[in-house]
């Protein structure tokens, strides 16, 4: 999917994360700031990358500020931001590329 415009999802509350996607410069640039980066930094990056791959996002600037979110929340916020950047809200591929 293309990132058509900047979009944000999530909050900075505990157990949540805020994901911002913006049109990229030819590849995925990921900027991660996490309260648990020393213990879970690798895992969080992996989840973000895999989610973007499933959504076929290959050109984006992605900024994630994590407040100790579980993997399921990180996925949800990334997906939400990507779909928002495309103004898609209905008839989503649950169980397809969203999984």
């Amino acid at each position: 999917m293309e990132i058509k415009k900047p979009a944000v999802a999530g909050t900075l509350e505990s157990s949540d994360c805020m994901v911002t996607v913006e049109p990229g410069q030819g590849q995925v640039d990921l900027d991660l700031d996490s309260a648990v980066i020393r213990q879970y930094g690798k895992q969080i990056r992996k989840v973000i990358r895999e989610t973007l791959d499933r959504l076929d996002v290959s050109n984006a600037k992605v900024t994630v500020v994590d407040k100790g979110a579980l993997d399921c929340t990180i996925k949800a916020r990334v997906e939400c931001a990507v779909y928002r950047s495309n103004d898609i809200k209905d008839n989503l591929p649950w169980g397809g590329v969203i999984k």
Binding site: A9, G10, E13, S14, S15, D16, A69, L70, D71, C72, T73, K75, A76, R77, E79, C80, Y83, R84, K89, D90, N91, L92, W94, G95, I98, K99
Partner: protein
């Protein structure tokens, strides 16, 4: 029949789907059901975000046997069909319809649920439905709503909107809810489905909450909607059969079983006249006692 139709639902706790901190492990409080809310608790501009959270929570969080009900947005919005697709694909146990007014409302949802089950390869009939009655019209139609679908396991009163419709407010005494509560429990029992009471919103008045639960317990309700985990132990305590009731129920079941074999129809237990009509009630008491962890017998 879906075995979940009659499951224990003493406490049904609302949780805002948009709050990851709330939905990540509510099972530690041991409610019978959680109601993951896409409706009133979720801000209008976060309706989409709540669905992604819901889907992944349903898929990835082990709720340890707690029933996962999703409250979808109203049928008067353009949100509810996608809500159902997301919930069914995620594998929720039940859908709660807000502001139900007629049997036709339930049928609309039933059709959408069936379509979603088909679309996402979910076993047909897995997803149950409950209907929240939030208006005078809905309450008046309680009986037809209760009979509207084989998926419908119960109805719930939603007191806030209902009292607005009656042009009154929640007083804390329960007077304004009396008619609806009485009518709904009768309708539910007549149709053979469950019946749940509305939330109690004043968290600073735990004594008031206790009295409220005692009232609806006496009226025959199957359970209560909960807005804070602190309310759960009180509900469970009130719904837990007392030791003397358990002992009596045990005797009744035992005596009816043996007397039936001897061809005796009416007899006394602890000085009370007992016949076969007491059997189901006694069985229910023992089942509830077992579920509440206070009965280890095998009757």
């Amino acid at each position: 029949m879906n075995p979940n139709m009659k499951r224990l639902r003493r406490s049904m706790m609302f949780l805002n789907c948009q709050k990851p901190g709330l939905i990540k492990d509510p099972y530690v409080y041991a409610p019978d059901s959680i109601m993951l809310d896409l409706e009133d608790a979720v801000a209008e501009k976060e309706k989409d975000a709540a669905r992604y959270s819901l889907y992944h929570a349903l898929q990835e969080i082990d709720y340890r046997g707690v029933e996962r009900v999703v409250r979808i947005n109203g049928l008067d919005t353009d949100l509810w069909i996608e809500d159902i697709r997301c919930s069914v694909a995620g594998g929720c146990d039940s859908i709660r319809i807000p502001k139900t007014e007629t049997a036709a409302d339930v049928k609309k949802v039933e059709a959408a649920v069936a379509a979603a089950e088909k679309e996402f390869g979910v076993e047909e009939g897995r997803t149950l439905i409950m209907a929240a009655l939030e208006s005078a019209r809905g309450v008046m139609n309680a009986f037809e709503i209760c009979q509207s679908s084989p998926r419908l396991f119960g109805i719930a009163l939603s007191g806030g909107d209902y009292t607005k419709d009656l042009q009154t407010t929640i007083s804390g005494t329960g007077v304004e809810l009396m008619g609806a509560r009485q009518h709904m429990i009768i309708a539910a029992r007549a149709a053979g489905v469950q019946c749940f009471d509305t939330v109690y919103t004043n968290l600073n008045d735990m004594e008031g909450f206790r009295k409220d639960v005692e009232t609806i317990h006496t009226m025959g309700f199957d359970g209560k909607s909960i807005i804070n985990p602190r309310q759960i132990p009180i509900v469970h305590e009130i719904y837990t059969p007392k030791p003397k009731d358990i002992i009596f129920a045990e005797k009744v079941v035992h005596e009816i079983d043996t007397k039936k074999a001897q061809g005796i129809g009416v007899f006394t237990v602890d000085g009370k006249m007992i016949d076969i009509a007491f059997y189901d009630g006694a069985k229910r008491t023992l089942a509830l006692a077992k579920a509440s962890g206070v009965y280890k017998g095998d009757l």
